[in-house]
Amino acid sequence: MDKAANWQDIKIDFSRVVEANKGLATVVKKEVGDHLSGKRFSILALLVFVTCLGALYIAASTIRTSAGQGELDFVFLLLFTTSGASMPFSFLSFISLLGPLIGLTLGFDAINGERDRRTLSRILSQPIYRDALINGKFIAGVIVIAIIIFGLGFLVAGLGLLITGIPPTLDELFRLIAYLTLSVIYISFWLALSILFSILFRQTSTSALAGVALWLFLAVFFTLLAGMVADGIYPVQDTSDADQVLANTRTEQLISRVSPAYLYSEAVSTIMNPEVRAMGPVLLEQAYGTLKGALSFGQSLLLIWPHVIGLIAAMLICFGLAYISFMRQEIRA
């Protein structure tokens, strides 16, 4: 009873919350405006827009053959996941490839750009707390990412609806929204990372390059590396027994999951494919006797929940590091 009473005593003093975030809304407004009117953003948005429309076109032209073979379930989701023979990329793989680039572009000069333009000390001498600037920049970036991703997702959904003429079920709509939200979180991770680089490196070109290097490493080389390490620990030959093969695969997956890029691609391919029931190796005896069928949205979400938490954690850790290093950094160069 005491606890309940105490709980009621706790009142959030909103005036203090507002006081502590003075200037945040102004910074967010200005940064969103900057992003949306900047040339850099237009180029990037155009690139992503064109590739996604291309992916949609491929999906729409091959969807008849691929959907016709199986049941007509989840045709709407196939718009996002189907890739054609002429272009081996789906909407999903385009976003997972180009998404990080959006995040990097929005954040790589967040702080060192202000330093270069010599606006940092002028802005921070205004009556705002120092963290209002970095919080504002991050929030503005997330808003812009959400605008791009949701805009793009619903655009493709709408066009797909016109092309196929099959309306999405509620389950499919939930999956789409979950997918887009997850994409926003994942790209925000790259945004936080690029803001961190913009604080650690004084040159904008260095921070951009560092971001791109890490992107290439995580997107392309990390899975290769994970395979090599797994082979080193559990070498697999033709004569190896099942335990060895299983250990090898599990190790590879475990190491791969350190990379947010892998985590993201695993999560989105699960949420967008209701037929995926397990991630990682499944033994024949485990699969024996299971009934074929799709998972419900809730079950799919449960399956990727660790991934969602992992991605949110990765984003927050990056932003936390950026926050701390910015608060400790000297204002003058």
Binding site: T26, K30, D34, R117, T119, R122, R332
Partner: protein, 322 residues
Amino acid sequence: MATGSNYLIETVDLCKRYGDRAAVDNLNLQVEHGIVYGLLGPNGAGKTTTILMLLGLTEPTSGKAMVNGYDPSRNPLQVKSMVGYLPDNVGFYDEMTGEENLFYTAALNRIAQDEAQRRIKQALKRVGLPDAGHRKVGEYSRGMRQRLGIADVLVKDPKFIIMDEPTLGIDPEGIQELLALIKDLAKEDGRTILISSHLLHQIQQVCDKVGILVQGKLIASGTIDELEQQLVSQEHLELELKAVPGDEKLGDICAAIDGVSKITWNNDMLLLECSRDIREALVKELIAKGYCPTHLSLRGVSLDSIYLRYFHKEEKYYGQSS
């Protein structure tokens, strides 16, 4: 808010260390309300670091600063809302117009839209950029940016303005206009202004008081007259003397005056080294002996030479040159 303090700025043993190097070393600076204070010092003397500590943008290693009774590291917002800061080589967002940049500042200061509009128009007019407000800052010249920087400060309507090297990189005509504006801001509006500079002769005409900062230490502070007196009383002086007739006996007369330690002829001019100010006694003596002094000047007591001398002394003291 601490009351009873006569000073707008007061620092007590303010220190800032970067590793082993002390950028600001036990600084005790006092600036009264309503004056123009010139903080002078060579590059790297700790001027900007001091300013950043006054604004709460850098934490002091030890000691404390008070601005109008507030501690900038504890109440940064109170301090920042009453202080206008013009950084050295001020920067703006190039892709935005001058007005948009000022609107951003106004918004960060939570000034209402129409009030901001009014202040921005007024400020731009005052700094001499009435028509440039709608142009992008990327097209501005260095001098125009500096003016926009002052307009940016004025939008806040601060009671206290800090300018860091405001005359740097501006042409001589621009400097005169800038100094006139500074004078105007102090006298007409009654604002307190702190100017940091390494160019003494440029700002001495607007400063009521100056402080000389070398190696993080304030080695002299006061009005220009006070600085002269400090120098005169503690240093040996050199007098330049020309008189008619300029014969050999002139030297003997001078040598006989109490306080003169050395006499050298420099063509027709006599250089007297003395331990105190003997000008009065010297002139009386010369006239009594039938000589007429045509030129008598205390060498090395212009502000520039004070400035140079202080720096020189400090360099000798630290055994290094800056």
